[in-house]
Amino acid sequence: MHPILSQPRRLLWYVLAWIVPGILLAWTLVAENSVAWSSALFFALPAVHFYGFILTSSYFVCRSLPIRQRTALRVVSVFGCASLLSSLLWILLCVFWSKIIGDATGYPDGVLIDRQLTSLLFVAALLLYLVSLLAHDVFIAFENIRSAERQQIASQLLARDAELQMLRSQINPHFLFNSLNSISALTSINAAAARDMAIELGTFYRKTLAISARQQINLGEEVELCKHFLKIEKIRFGQKLQVSWEIDPAALTAQVPAMFLQPLLENAIKHGICNLSDGGVVQIKSVIENSWLHIAISNPVDPESPSVIGTATGLKNFKARIHSLYQEKSRISWYKAHNNFYLDMIIPFEPVMAGSRND
């Protein structure tokens, strides 16, 4: 929409501003052609205002010719034609309007505006239109810069949001505070165990921070991180939590995104093992088949606990993250059967080159 026409306040100022040239034109008529003030004003004010509205069309002319598509020839022809047409249209209307006002107030043809004034008005209108084109161009350029800045800020905010979300999920306050509570309990029961747990917790968070600074790690590093995580969870849940790893040694060299398995294990414990009075075994299997890395995770679930699949927002976020990294080259699916939860995942197998690790 037009920056002036679309806002009543600006439109009012615009209309008021055009009164000045209207009075000037009327004054010219009074001085040069000895017309009465009343007839002159009657003619001049509507005439200049009408041109004021014709001028706003230059905004759409500018918009129709984006900066990137401009060539000298195009600019000259489009802008020239638009200016000529607009000023010509206005002059015709002026002649017509002067006739009406002249007839009504008793001036014969050519008295209100003579031939000389007509050509003067035409040239003025032409120049004004060109100036208006320029002004609109400048305005549009500023608008573009501003919207580009806004977009940049919006995308920065979005990126920071995603980063925060990721950090938050890594730090997982529930896990942290419960672990600290366990340490607090252990201090009087088994001081050595409390120390061990504090060290495990420290190691886990240190590794998490180190790993999340990198985009890609290998599966071996991720498995190691998970083992620290599971050690802490085992102290919290005792015999309830059992873990079985079956990882093809070749798979350990696979490139994977940071925090690739840990959120899945956390999910398996939180929504599976945790809900079972007798606990169970979390199974993690990984093999390589025809340049694909397969991961399968399963855990028993409480058949009465409904939230496993229904509100799997954590899993959905995880899937979105993996999908954004590998697009259609990844598959993640999960289902519940026989009181077990199964998750299968396939991503392209890309071994990390020897020596490319720098830690």
Binding site: F177, N181, A185, R236
Partner: protein, 244 residues
């Protein structure tokens, strides 16, 4: 003479329970009468032992802390313990219900005990308000000593009958002592619609609307069940359901 309090510890983590026992050791006027390791055990223990005070973990297997309170009808004598749950914390502050954030110190624990003891005689209704405000993910019903957990995803419709409601899900039904309006307030209004004074239907369970007479409509569910639709219910429904 201070009355000896009978206390129940509810927490799924053995170390967390051990810590609570340790903190309680210096409170000679408190008697630990039981420990529960999940929500179902907690419901059972509260009913069986009628403790004066319950230390209740929120995030637990089987049933969460709020569901335990709803099923037992307990409205006072509770101190919540939780590691981190921003939504619950907000609700607690709102209803002035006391809670302990893990890890907590002996001093903070003692303070909560003193406060709870003071409140034992006065019976604040805060906890029932807390439960009424909670948004549901599932409906829990206690029927002849058995606890049923009904995921909202499986619920078709709920019907009011006198002073209880019947919940229909997966071709089964169960009765619960609750008012339809109280349940309605806890359900997502984008998912469950009060289609009649005595019926709430789940939108995704509704197949179509049928006109049976000049100004009477029925909602036909995918299961074939037909439910009455009142004039006001029709206004609420037609926003969601496309007409044949």
């Amino acid at each position: 003479m201070i009355k000896t309090l009978q206390l129940l510890i509810v927490d799924d983590e053995p170390l967390a329970r051990a810590l609570t026992r340790e903190y309680l050791a210096k409170h000679k006027d408190i008697n630990i009468i039981g420990e529960a390791t999940n929500g179902l055990e907690a419901v059972d223990a509260i009913n069986r032992l009628a403790p004066d005070l319950v230390l209740l973990d929120i995030f637990m297997p089987k049933l969460n802390g709020l569901e335990v309170l709803e099923l037992t009808g307990r409205t006072s004598g509770v101190i919540f313990t939780t590691a981190y749950d921003q939504y619950a914390l907000k609700a607690f502050d709102l209803h002035a219900v006391d809670y302990l954030l893990k890890p907590f110190s002996q001093a903070r624990f003692d303070e909560a005990i003193v406060r709870a003891r003071k409140l034992l005689d006065a019976t604040p209704a805060n906890i029932s308000e807390l439960i009424a405000d909670a948004k549901l993910e599932r409906i829990v019903v206690r029927d002849r000593g058995q606890v049923h957990i009904i995921p909202l995803a499986e619920v078709e419709y709920i019907e009011a009958q006198d002073d209880y409601i019947s919940i229909y899900w997966n071709g089964k039904s169960i009765m619960k002592t609750q008012s339809l309006s109280a349940l309605e307030a806890q359900l997502d209004s984008q998912e469950f619609v009060r289609i009649h004074r005595s019926v709430i239907a789940k939108l995704s369970a509704v197949k179509s609307l049928e006109r049976i007479s000049k100004d009477a409509q029925v909602a036909v569910l995918h299961s074939g069940v037909k439910l009455p639709v009142s004039r006001a219910g029709y206004e609420r429904l037609k926003v969601f359901v496309s007409q044949p």
